[in-house]
Assembly symmetry: C2
Homo-oligomer: 186 residues x 2
């Protein structure tokens, strides 16, 4: 039974709750904004995570009845939860993984028509723009409340996205026939 060392969805939820009590819905919003560029999670992960944390006494659940709507379940971290979190943070080698269908696709660019390649690259740049904007917006709205770690993480995201954008812009010509014929004729 491995109970420490992994920063899984459960542990990240626990961490988020150190900033104050919140519902699953609230946590989802963090996963969609601040955490979106490096740790996405959906309801299918968040709700079971909160249930499991509750069972194990890491959090307490406060059910707030609402008329018509289902109860709002607000979770509070417990002392046990804090201890567990600190233990999880002790892992000296947390991973950083990339799963890129984009790069997998580009590996087979020689099987694709140029127009298709261009579309894929354009969509990647759009994605970069989206994340850059999103990070800047969350920074603008809550930077002052953030501990240094979150600032570091936001800056990290912006730096990586900027690097991606630059690389794609500067090297996309390598992928198309256009450049192949140019280098052949020129």
């Amino acid at each position: 039974m491995e109970t420490s060392g992994t920063m899984d969805v459960r542990t990240v939820c626990l961490g988020m709750l150190t900033d104050g009590a919140a519902s699953g819905y609230d946590l989802k919003k963090h996963f969609e904004s601040t955490f979106a560029h490096f740790f996405a999670a959906g309801y299918g992960s968040i709700y079971p995570a909160l249930s499991s944390l509750c069972e194990q006494g890491m959090v307490n659940c406060e059910c707030i009845p609402q008329d018509g709507k289902p109860d709002r379940k607000v979770y509070h971290i417990t002392a046990e939860g804090r201890t567990f979190l600190l233990k999880a943070l002790e892992n000296p080698t947390p991973c950083h993984k990339v799963r890129s269908e984009f790069l997998a696709t580009m590996c087979f660019a020689h099987l694709m028509p140029d127009a298709q390649i261009e579309k894929v690259l354009d969509s990647r740049l759009e994605d970069c723009a989206y994340y850059t904007k999103m990070i800047s917006e969350v920074e603008a709205s809550c930077m002052q409340d953030w501990p240094p770690g979150k600032r570091f993480v936001a800056g990290f995201g912006k730096a990586m996205i900027e690097a991606m954008k630059t690389y794609v812009e500067e090297n996309r010509h390598l992928l198309t026939e256009e450049s192949a014929s140019k280098s052949a004729t020129g």
Copy 2:
């Protein structure tokens, strides 16, 4: 029944087989070297993927008996497989996801002792060095055989890792008390 559009393990295996017939074991080596920095996959994904591709006629399996050892199963892509792959490559918006326990940990750096933070950052830099070396080595050994797409992807990996390294080195001081006290006293 969604049969196209996703670059999952099955489709990537199929793509790898366009470079020539191979066994599951052979494919694993590609996942561990060339693809390691952006699309990891283990036997638990590869073998079921090949079985499923075989059932659907995307690949043919050639069983080569070996004395003592289990049969070596070499997979060849079929015409149907090629068609399927081209269809999968048509997705104009393939994703690029990051899953970082490292960044999740750094979000809670204010709950960690400085020495622990330093260890995490050092291990990240080691990881950067490992991947940079690995990509350079595979580039050195098989760059000449590669289509432009794979060169682009290798360069992409190196650029991103370099950006990560630079960012960590230049901003790690933001995470420790040391800098906090320095800015308070200085």
